[in-house]
């Protein structure tokens, strides 16, 4: 495993993208920063600008209008390498909104998703465990 990747796994900075969610997953992501969970222990930080991000946490059911932006952000604005984490049922199969006229396609048909964290909303523990699982997977493969 090269040094860059090792460092990336030690300090994944996350940016959070909502594509039309009910807010719960977003709030639970913020919750991960707070005293009880404190993801800074693992070097994770929530960053304000997309340019600083290594991990995209995507929530929500893939609304027509916001998916355009998400695609653009993923393809043009995120410095690579970056991983995408789908959080909540909406980011996987669109959950409750599977029949909505404004949510035509699931997230992974537009951008590749590396790990899915189910839950409606997932507990902050589940989010941390999911990211840790992803880190372990990357470590195992490389």
């Amino acid at each position: 495993m090269n040094l860059t990747l090792k460092a990336l796994l030690k300090s994944p900075w996350v940016f959070h993208l909502s594509t039309g969610s009910c807010n719960n997953c977003d709030i639970e992501i913020l919750d991960c920063l707070t005293p009880r969970f404190d993801i800074e222990r693992f070097g994770m930080r929530l960053v304000g600008s997309i340019r600083h991000a290594d991990v995209l946490l995507v929530t929500g059911s893939g609304n027509r209008k916001s998916m355009l932006r998400v695609k653009k952000i993923y393809e043009e604005q995120v410095p690579k390498p970056c991983v995408v984490v789908g959080i909540g049922e909406c980011a996987m199969s669109r959950g409750m909104f599977i029949h909505s006229y404004n949510c035509p396609r699931p997230l992974d048909s537009d951008i590749p998703v590396d790990v899915y964290i189910p839950g409606c909303p997932p507990k902050p523990e589940a989010i941390i465990a999911g990211v840790v699982k992803l880190i372990n997977k990357i470590k195992g493969i490389e």
Binding site: S18, N23, T34
Partner: protein, 394 residues
């Protein structure tokens, strides 16, 4: 001076939701604000018509994560209004407990986020530390931290286990001393005073004109609260006060929320202690044709639902009016004239919840301009005239 447009959103650390505010600024002063919505539209009302009355509750619950009790509460009240029925006493208390628990965690959340917006991350961490305890209480009582899935037309879905009540009470009691300390610290902080006092002024007249709701209106001296005005649930069975301040600014809104938390804690504790026995569900079998309305005082203001039934097991029409929908236009009165730094906190002060609000997005064919209220009324009248003409009615 040269004007430039600063966009807040759609992906901006200020908001957890994708929402676009176009601030037209001269230097640092905001002269105009335009809101562009539609990033969060999911077609909830249409989805609700697809599901039956029981399943709709879950769609409604996912309108908004933070108001995940308020919307089902208003919706179930609307459905019960169609029949009409009286909910069993125990169910009323359970509903009240869940709704007030949600209010506490929502206000704590707002405090944390407001602190975060002001760069005061320590307050954010301290408040959310308290919020964890409340979320634990909610997990003990309902089985999930945020989506409680407790409501159904005619009662509640799950009972509160009497073994859990002492633990819940203990956890609520445990946060009170810390909350007291933080309250005093916040009320004394000179820098917070400097940042929050006298900005984002929404006068009483403006609050009435814009039909502001919830803490936004109560901070402007308009004493309006569905829980007091038209009591439901167990709100008329417990003793609590409505919090109203006259200061009209962001500071007032913060104070209203801070003091409201204490009232909510009082309500939750009283309800948990005096939980009556009996049935929790009416087992409604069928809903007759008819219309019903339901309202609930969500943490952000009154949430209003309209449901029409045509005798089948699905709503024929379901209309949601979230509180932010009424509070958002007040920004037109409060934001222009303030600086960018103030604009962000004023935007946050109405505790906006866009996922609640995104029920419709109106655009012209060219795809740019959003219609205002007057134009919408005009368009609606024109369409009615056109239909009348076509049908030959004078």
């Amino acid at each position: 001076m040269q004007k430039s447009v600063i966009s807040i959103g759609p992906y901006h650390p200020l908001q957890e939701e994708p929402e676009l505010f176009m601030l037209t600024v001269e230097g640092e002063t905001v002269v105009d604000i335009e809101v562009s919505i539609g990033y969060n539209h999911r077609g909830i009302e249409k989805l609700s018509e697809r599901c039956n009355f029981d399943q709709s509750t879950f769609v409604i619950e996912r309108i908004c994560g933070i108001c995940s009790t308020s919307h089902p509460f208003a919706y179930t009240r609307a459905v019960e209004d169609i029949i009409p029925v009286e909910v069993p006493e125990r169910a009323r208390y359970i509903r009240t407990i869940i709704a007030e628990g949600e209010r506490i965690h929502s206000h704590l959340l707002w405090y944390g986020l407001a602190g975060h917006f002001l760069g005061y991350n320590t307050v954010y961490m301290w408040m959310w530390k308290l919020r964890e305890e409340i979320l634990d209480v909610m997990e003990i009582l309902s089985g999930n931290r945020n989506n409680y899935a407790m409501f159904k037309p005619g009662g509640v879905r799950r009972d509160i286990n009497s073994d859990d009540i002492p633990l819940a009470l203990k956890k609520i009691d445990a946060i009170i001393p810390t909350l007291d300390r933080l309250k005093k610290a916040i009320l004394d902080d000179p820098v917070l005073h400097a940042r929050l006092k006298g900005i984002g002024i929404l006068t009483k007249e403006e609050a009435v004109d814009y039909c502001a709701l919830g803490p936004t209106s109560r901070a402007s001296g308009v004493a309006r609260d569905v829980r007091k005005d038209a009591p439901y649930g167990a709100y008329d069975r417990v003793d609590w006060d409505m919090i109203v301040t006259e200061s009209c600014d962001v500071w007032g809104k913060a104070v209203v929320r801070l003091l409201e938390m204490y009232e909510s804690i009082k309500i939750v504790k009283t309800c948990l202690q005096n939980l009556p026995g009996g049935e929790i569900d009416l087992n409604i079998k069928s809903i007759p044709p008819g219309e019903g309305i339901g309202a609930h005082e969500a943490p952000r203001g009154e949430t209003f639902h309209y449901v029409r039934s045509d005798g089948t097991n699905r709503p024929a029409r379901h209309k949601v009016r979230a509180s932010t929908f009424m509070n958002l236009p007040t920004l037109k009165a409060t934001v222009p004239g303030s600086s960018i730094s103030d604009a962000t906190i004023i935007l946050a002060a109405i505790d906006p919840c866009y996922c609640c609000t995104e029920r419709m997005a109106v655009r012209s064919r060219e795809g740019k301009k959003l219609y205002g209220g007057q134009e919408l009324i005009r368009l609606s009248q024109e369409k009615t005239k056109k239909i009348k003409r076509e049908m030959g009615i004078k």
